[in-house]
């Protein structure tokens, strides 16, 4: 197992270096003088230009600049935002829990609904349940989620008035930030109604974000179950007279879960892309909205480091998925 983990880690190094090269190139690929872009819209005097240029390292050769960039990254220096002047890493870490909470709840919704639906659809192959659920899954898979979010706002917030339109919690509640997860912090605060408020803010965005992963997981679970149920060991279990519930629960489901877990892991990238849209629609103060705002504000250090941090995060999650995969399936670990 140790060698398996080590080989996976070594494998990540070239990819990670590639990601840093892309992030490094970003401000240098933009049309125009990177110093002027980094300095913001007001422009600078020639002296200040030279000073900034030296400070940002643009006066040295590209390989040297890149090595310096890497060195700063290793020291945890991701640059400062042009707008807020705060370190990008501080901002990222402050906003990340919001995205993590949203994404986590979304993936839980998607898994808790998607897996049972997929299993049931496979068991009752060809039934009306199978047809309806798989048609819905295809509709969900084809859904422009930014539109879906707007529709839910029209219906639940506008027409029924059940849920708030934006933000993470009602402004009337204030409590210390302990875990960064509003659901947990609101419970810890002990204030009446705070948890309900946090939940009502979270429910629509997480449903919207869960839509595509839910569809993918349901489809994948169904096809994995169908494949496994045709295997010899399932037939043998049946032939032994094992009850249907045990055959499916113990023999089929466990083996079908391997590709399903991979699918769930692969949804992390999808979730991050979805978070950009979902957070924009619901004004959810997370990484996605921060990135899109920074792109439109031309806050290039934020875009540069945000890109890097997001890609690194997706990479780490994928690594964890790979490791889990190796944990469940010894055949992969020992390859």
């Amino acid at each position: 197992m140790f060698r398996f983990i080590l080989s996976k880690l070594l494998y990540l190094i070239p990819t990670f270096l590639g990601i840093t090269i892309i992030a490094f190139s970003f401000p240098r690929l933009l049309a125009g003088d990177p110093v002027l872009l980094m300095a913001g819209e007001r422009g600078v005097t020639p002296e200040r230009h030279a000073e900034l240029s030296a400070q940002l390292g643009f006066d040295r050769s590209l390989p040297v600049q890149y090595l310096e960039f890497l060195g700063r990254l290793l020291h945890g220096d991701f640059g400062n935002s042009l707008v807020t002047k705060k370190p990008v890493l501080t901002e990222f870490l402050a906003l990340f829990p919001a995205t993590l909470e949203l994404g986590f709840v979304a993936i839980v919704i998607a898994t808790l609904i998607g897996v049972p639906v997929g299993v049931l659809a496979a068991i009752k192959r060809g039934s009306w349940f199978d047809q309806i659920s798989m048609t819905s899954a295809l509709v969900g898979f084809s859904m422009p989620i930014f539109w879906w979010g707007l529709l839910l706002i029209i219906f639940f917030s506008g027409f029924l008035g059940w849920t708030p339109v934006s933000g993470r919690i009602s402004l009337m509640y204030y409590f210390p930030n302990v875990t960064g997860f509003m659901l947990i912090d609101s419970l810890l605060s002990g204030q009446k109604g705070a948890f309900a408020s946090a939940l009502s803010h979270l429910i629509l965005p997480s449903v919207v974000l869960a839509t595509i992963p839910l569809a993918v997981i349901a489809r994948q679970t169904r096809s994995a179950m169908l494949e496994v149920m045709g295997e010899d060991y399932v037939r043998t279990a049946r032939a032994k007279g094992m009850p249907q519930r045990r055959v499916i629960g113990v023999h089929a489901l466990r083996n079908a879960m391997i590709p399903v877990i991979t699918t769930i892991g692969l949804q992390i990238g999808v979730l991050m892309a979805g978070a950009i849209l979902t957070e924009t629609i619901f004004s959810w103060p997370g990484i996605g909205k921060w990135m899109i705002d920074s792109i439109s504000r031309r806050d290039y250090p934020v875009v540069q480091s945000g890109l890097l941090l997001t890609a690194a995060m997706v990479m780490i999650v994928n690594l964890l998925v790979d490791l889990t995969y190796g944990l469940i399936n010894p055949r992969i670990r020992n390859k």
């Binding site: 509709v139 990238g269 792109i295 890609a311």
Partner: protein
């Protein structure tokens, strides 16, 4: 598929006959999937609408009727017969804009898939055919592109290239291209060791001929399925970029851009939000249905089961 033809008992078949037989076989499997046929019909309809937009659209899509701002659809109180699906906040006919919007979506899908497909095939062929360090380097670069969430990378590329439809299409194509490269590479590596490739090599075929004429045609099935899926994703992603203000720019009648402009009116005028999104959903769904059918028809593994 070529194996199946070779085994047919009736002696020699002309090329045209083989092609006809393959098409018949393809259609047989494709039409087994009812959803795929529905998808195909909707897609053909969409193509017809896009091609005849100038004829069938009742109004100019950018014409602003100042006396008809935010009119509801005709069946709702206050609707007018000349604006069947109502008008938007500056008095443009919704139906006409939706009709013209189909041109954008089809165009985006075709351009993105063509660039990603051609780029991916060439890169994948080179990686799979030559192997060794060339393969290593190419596939690592593809891994790096895949490490970024697609929409985020597309957004950043658009930030570099500047907002607009052309740049949005290029960005999406770059982001999709690794999928084709990976598929092509895997297929090439599988095919390369087969006897017919060795035979062609012994017969003196050069590398280019081996790559493009001998191996490539036998790797097409998974690529076609991926192309269909990418077509629908491209329509979705381009609409998302338009929605975020990074894709087609107003006053273009692109569906995502229309949604962005309609956002502030969601509480007052449901139709300006509902119809463009519905158009995106229907076209993406139709293409995905077709994709499922294509996969059933082209995947030999599924056929046997």
């Amino acid at each position: 598929m070529s194996d199946a033809i070779a085994k047919t008992p009736e002696g020699k078949l002309s090329d045209a006959a083989i092609r006809r037989r393959m098409l018949t076989e393809f259609w047989f499997y494709f039409s087994q999937n009812k959803g795929a046929v529905v998808g195909l019909v909707v897609f053909i309809l969409m193509v017809i609408i896009a091609l005849t937009a100038t004829l069938i659209a009742p109004h100019d899509p950018t014409m602003q009727y100042r006396d008809a701002l935010l009119l509801p659809p005709v069946w709702q109180e206050g609707g007018r017969a000349e604006f069947l699906l109502g008008t938007d906040p500056v008095g443009r006919d919704m139906l006409s804009r939706l009709i013209y919007g189909s041109q954008y979506s089809l165009f985006i899908g075709i351009v993105v898939v063509s660039i990603a497909l051609v780029g991916g095939i060439v890169i994948g062929l080179i990686a799979g055919f030559f192997g060794g360090w060339i393969d290593m380097v190419i596939m690592r670069v593809m891994d790096i592109i895949l490490a970024f969430p697609s929409l985020l990378l597309a957004l950043v590329l658009v930030a570099i290239l500047g907002p607009g439809l052309t740049n949005a299409m290029i960005a999406i194509a770059i982001v999709y291209q690794p999928h084709f490269a990976r598929l092509t590479r895997a297929a090439v590596m599988g095919e390369q060791k087969r006897d017919y490739v060795s035979a062609a090599r012994v017969a003196g075929a050069g590398n280019l001929r081996l790559m493009f004429r001998t191996i490539l045609p036998n790797c097409l099935a998974p690529l076609i399925v991926q192309a269909t899926l990418s077509f629908s994703s491209a329509v979705l992603d381009a609409a998302a970029l338009g929605f975020l203000g990074m894709g087609a720019q107003p006053p273009a009648a692109e569906w995502g851009t229309m949604l962005a402009e309609a956002r502030e009116f969601i509480q007052r005028a449901w139709w300006v939000v509902t119809f463009p999104g519905l158009a995106i959903l229907i076209s993406v769904l139709a293409i995905n249905l077709m994709g499922d059918g294509l996969r059933d028809a082209l995947d030999p593994k599924l056929k046997r089961s």
